[in-house]
């Protein structure tokens, strides 16, 4: 499967959360060298980043984003039938992060909850899985969470990654809409032969205690990832448009994974995408992994006055790349904010809500 068309659902809302600690990259000249910092800021385009420190996790950010979204939508927790957590920044190897969020949100035992281990391409993948679950029947309301804390992957001496990465969590609410005439189009791709291009080699079961502690941090082959991006993403965009029967100007906004401003600008030029249709948010929120697609959506499209057709584009670790062309109606809620209060670590989660079986 490369491309698919799915209908019968709508996006009810998207909420994103960033941590309260905001770093100004230009303040790090003493550590990394003023000229190096200036070059990274001017090329990658990251001036500020929100980072979690050691107090918050992707689960915390996503839980807060989901709480705000449920409240704004007026969705009772008991009404949520599915929870998907897309992350490569889990709280634990086990249990899955989705189960922890499930408890914190007080979701019912009838709610399916599971993780998906994808990074930069994760947002379209998560939407795809959620929409197929809704289309399959049985599910009515799904929360698709995507959160990453890549600032915790980096080695402090590696300024190429340290100055690039920020953290964010997102929650997207989808609901069944059997009568909807709007279809979404998805494209999902993988090239595992490039897995070494962006990797944390140690710390998991292949090498639990690496001899080189640097192997507990992310290693990025920047040039190799750039090769991959300019080879794979332009055809992804062109083929996605063709599959949906659309032209470049039929899409109101192209929401890119905010990888690096230089790379995104190159992609825009190569694909002939107008600047005004490709919002960039990397300057203020950095590269926060796959959730940067959601952050760019909530930060730039909240003031719409009509229904929008959006193309979401994810690409990176895996190597994996993906697209989703979706409609966003005027009733869909978009929220963005700072996660102010780290939850108390000893806070007891609410009891899950038991539901009576359907007659």
């Amino acid at each position: 499967m490369s491309f698919s068309r799915i209908d019968g659902f709508r996006i009810a809302g998207v909420s994103t959360c960033v941590p309260p600690t905001r770093v100004d990259n230009l303040s790090l000249g003493d550590r990394y060298g003023a000229e190096d910092v200036r070059k990274v800021v001017s090329m990658a385009g990251v001036r500020h980043r929100h980072v979690v420190g050691d107090q918050l996790t992707a689960v915390d950010l996503c839980t807060e984003a989901a709480r705000r979204l449920l409240e704004r939508l007026g969705w009772e927790p008991e009404s949520v039938t599915g929870l998907i957590m897309v992350t490569q920044s889990p709280d634990h190897f086990l249990p899955s992060s989705a189960c922890i969020v499930h408890a914190r949100l007080g979701l019912p035992v009838s709610c399916a909850a599971f993780d998906m281990g994808l990074g930069c391409s994760g947002y379209p993948y998560g939407l795809y899985i959620a929409s197929t679950m809704l289309k399959a029947g049985g599910q009515q309301r799904i929360l698709m969470l995507h959160g990453e804390t890549p600032s915790r992957f980096v080695h402090p001496d590696d300024h190429a990654t340290t100055l690039l990465f920020g953290d964010a969590g997102s929650a997207t609410a989808l609901e069944a809409a059997p009568d909807s005439t709007q279809a979404a189009h998805f494209g999902l791709f993988t090239d595992g032969s490039g897995a070494d291009g962006l990797i944390i080699r140690g710390g998991a079961f292949r090498d639990p205690r690496p001899a080189d502690p640097r192997d507990l941090c992310v290693r990025m082959d920047g040039a190799g990832i750039f090769n991959f991006t300019i080879k794979r993403v332009p055809p992804l965009i062109q083929d996605s448009l063709a599959f949906a029967g659309l032209g470049v100007m039929d899409v109101d906004a192209y929401l890119f994974h905010q990888s690096n401003r230089f790379i995104m600008k190159h992609l825009m030029k190569k694909c002939g995408l107008p600047d005004e249709r490709v919002p960039l948010t990397i300057e203020d929120t950095g590269n926060c992994g796959g959730p940067s697609v959601a952050v760019t959506l909530t930060r730039t499209q909240a003031d719409r006055s009509r229904e929008l057709r959006l193309m979401m584009v994810g690409y990176g670790v895996g190597l994996s790349w993906s697209s989703a062309i979706v409609h966003l109606d005027t009733n869909a809620v978009l929220l963005h904010g700072v996660c102010d209060e780290p939850p108390a670590l000893d806070a007891s989660p609410p009891e899950p809500v038991a539901q009576e079986p359907a007659p």
């Binding site: 190429a160 040039a223 190799g224 750039f226 090769n227 300019i230 190569k270």
Partner: protein
């Protein structure tokens, strides 16, 4: 192979742009280590310039092996992108 070509002067200008280095500082014999802008970011810029101007794909491992300006010129010539 590229269906577009650069003259030697255009190729040198392209590298001056990519590495943010004055053109007069570059010659075929110039070592990579003597060009401050030919760092990891400069390498990305060169990959982008070759893709944009010539449709050529400079692989990361090939890029890393380039130690002199001449090696970039050799790459262009090998792909039919350097005119006489």
């Amino acid at each position: 192979m590229s269906d577009r070509t650069l003259t030697l002067a255009e190729a040198m200008e392209m590298m001056a742009d990519a590495f943010n280095e004055p053109l007069e500082n570059l010659s075929p014999d110039t070592d990579r280590d003597s060009v401050p802008g030919w760092d990891s970011m400069g390498a990305l810029m060169l990959i982008a310039e070759l893709d944009e101007r010539l449709g050529l794909e400079l692989q990361a491992d090939v890029s890393r092996e380039m130690r002199k300006v001449q090696h970039v010129l050799d790459f262009l010539a090998a792909h039919g992108a350097l005119s006489a």
